[in-house]
Subunit: 419 residues, 2 copies
Amino acid sequence: MQAEIIAVGTELLLGHTINSDAAHVARALAELGIDVFGSCVVGDNAGRLEKALRDGLRENDLLVTTGGLGPTDDDLTRETVARVTGAPLEEHAESLARLREYFGSRPMGVNQRKQALLPRGCTVFANTVGTAPGCAVETPEGKLVIMLPGPPSELLPMLHDSVMPFLAQRQEGAIRSHMVRTFGIGEGDGALLLDGLTAQANPTVATYATDTEMFVRVTAKGGNAHEAAELAAPVVEEVRRRLGECVYGVDVPHLQAVVVDELTRRGQTLATAESCTGGLLASLITDVPGASAVFHAGVVTYANEAKTRLLGVPPELLARVGAVSPEVARHMAEGVRQRHGSDWGIGITGIAGPGGGTAEKPVGLVYIALSSADGTWLRVMRPTGRVMPRAWTRRRAAGHALDMLRRALQGLSVTALRR
Amino acid sequence: MQAEIIAVGTELLLGHTINSDAAHVARALAELGIDVFGSCVVGDNAGRLEKALRDGLRENDLLVTTGGLGPTDDDLTRETVARVTGAPLEEHAESLARLREYFGSRPMGVNQRKQALLPRGCTVFANTVGTAPGCAVETPEGKLVIMLPGPPSELLPMLHDSVMPFLAQRQEGAIRSHMVRTFGIGEGDGALLLDGLTAQANPTVATYATDTEMFVRVTAKGGNAHEAAELAAPVVEEVRRRLGECVYGVDVPHLQAVVVDELTRRGQTLATAESCTGGLLASLITDVPGASAVFHAGVVTYANEAKTRLLGVPPELLARVGAVSPEVARHMAEGVRQRHGSDWGIGITGIAGPGGGTAEKPVGLVYIALSSADGTWLRVMRPTGRVMPRAWTRRRAAGHALDMLRRALQGLSVTALRR
């Protein structure tokens, strides 16, 4: 099955909203083995949307639209899809009842009511979060148009709970896809290590990089689920073997989830002391549901005085070596661990920029320390030689801290000066 | 001038990378008064890219491509644009020299060298961050194709420092665009308040919403810069007047920037005590360059014991009313302010979910307190009636905290129980 994604909305076209929906939909389709051959954005303009739909239906078996299902006059997707597929809009009783329930005692405008108008004969996907339902319409030629609401908080549950099961039933064969996630290896080095693997056709092996991590997706197609799984497994193992200790997990959402999971399994706790990352590390960890069992407290000590009062970093040390130093990072990690009686302590101090750098301590220099009852490890993040954005330096430093703890928890070398 | 954005990359099509480049380019073009009529994504496939370029050139005056300029065999944009525009690739001496400088003593592969191949007669945009330069090629018909590198860290400086000045020279007339930013008003209510304004043609007034904020963009076109500015100013004032105290700023990046700016101007300081937001508030504030002057310390007190030790919340209070209560929020805000000797203190306690909710204290219930020498204010965030994602509740709670402080600093009603 070949698909195209059509995102609808002038706010997307003008760049006021970043089109994350297309990525969510594309990933879901890939999981099902549906090839996405194109993706486009059209503004809130019925003529242009109609052209995109007609062009898309000529070349593809499936179109997925996102957005344009709301109550305002700008929302034109429903009407336009109805016109293109030839299925007239009808009021859907169950969706209208849901809308009424959503508004409860509040008045429901006539505009709101139009959200219950859906193409005749479509399969309706209920909106469990917002107002506009989604649906799948089949054209007379047997092609499919799926309409989904624009807000990601509404699109995501609908996509995973309703659309994917609906599409999975229609798919022949099966696909098995795994994501191998790494920290500490670049895409260039990763490609060299995976040489030969990335050229094969089934399973496919592809690398992806964000600004702090590299991922490898292994996707196998088989006649049935078992066959696809059997094809994928050895290749995933080979990828793991080649990338070694940089692999922090397969099919896990992110590094912080692995860390929270490992800590939970051992019944251990963590406390953090952050300077340049300013709470980002604590925020990443506590964004994982259930983090409260392993994360009791963290401190953000921007000022030297706070480093002394909350962590016991000696003022004379701060005066002698400066706040951005390996010694202070170590004191922060040890101080926060001891004061909170946790098993692990992390200390981060550095210069995120854009100001505050010197020749001796340039922007981008960050020291990260991990402390346990067994000792304290240190990593140094050195400037890249180019001026990196403040947010990049902060994200990368938080990533290093998580990776150090992950390695320690997995019994691997934490790499760097062990005290 | 009418434009289309073509993003190149299989990783975008598969959704492994979110297409933020298109948003960056669209916003830059809008600033220049260039209308973006379409935006699409094509994979790393020369045939499909060639079709997208030829289709795009038929209907538009300007195409902007992002991505596909790197050193690997997948990077096909340069060759394809050269073929479509009829300008053969030639080695650009200055770009080659830059590449050599970039690699320094490291070996430079033959693949890297191809990045200095550019269409004959193009205007070259130097890459100050990475390896691949961008460029603008004029077709024999006088249309423009601009190629930009994919990584946002490379694209953004090139876009603002080179491409916008280049395009501005070619534009007739001028555009002036302002963004009015609000907190605490929904898009539906905003649209009602702006009734009449959003229908006019010049300046245009358009609303945009994220999951926590609503923005209003006012865009005026004039014969020259002065004329455009004169047209825009009274409409911006009218939007401000109608939306009232919910407006936290015009042409400001975000709420935390306004808060840091106001605190800096007054020479005042802030300390934060977070439970359910887990460091997100501190992280937002410290993401603002220069935050260190106003933010000395913050604590993340997930466990009750940490609330007592780091903030002095009485254990008997925690036992009596529970951690998620107005009293504890107030104690947290006052405790963190007093212990750090700051002018302002914020305390947040709530249930972000998905677990931990009860009938009495459901997921989504958050108390936010702001403390100063003048007293303590409290806001309550009640569940929406639907299950909202953990990240949404956290972002929204941090937004409320920032908005309370912003209102207090701007001398407005902080809304809610003043003690």
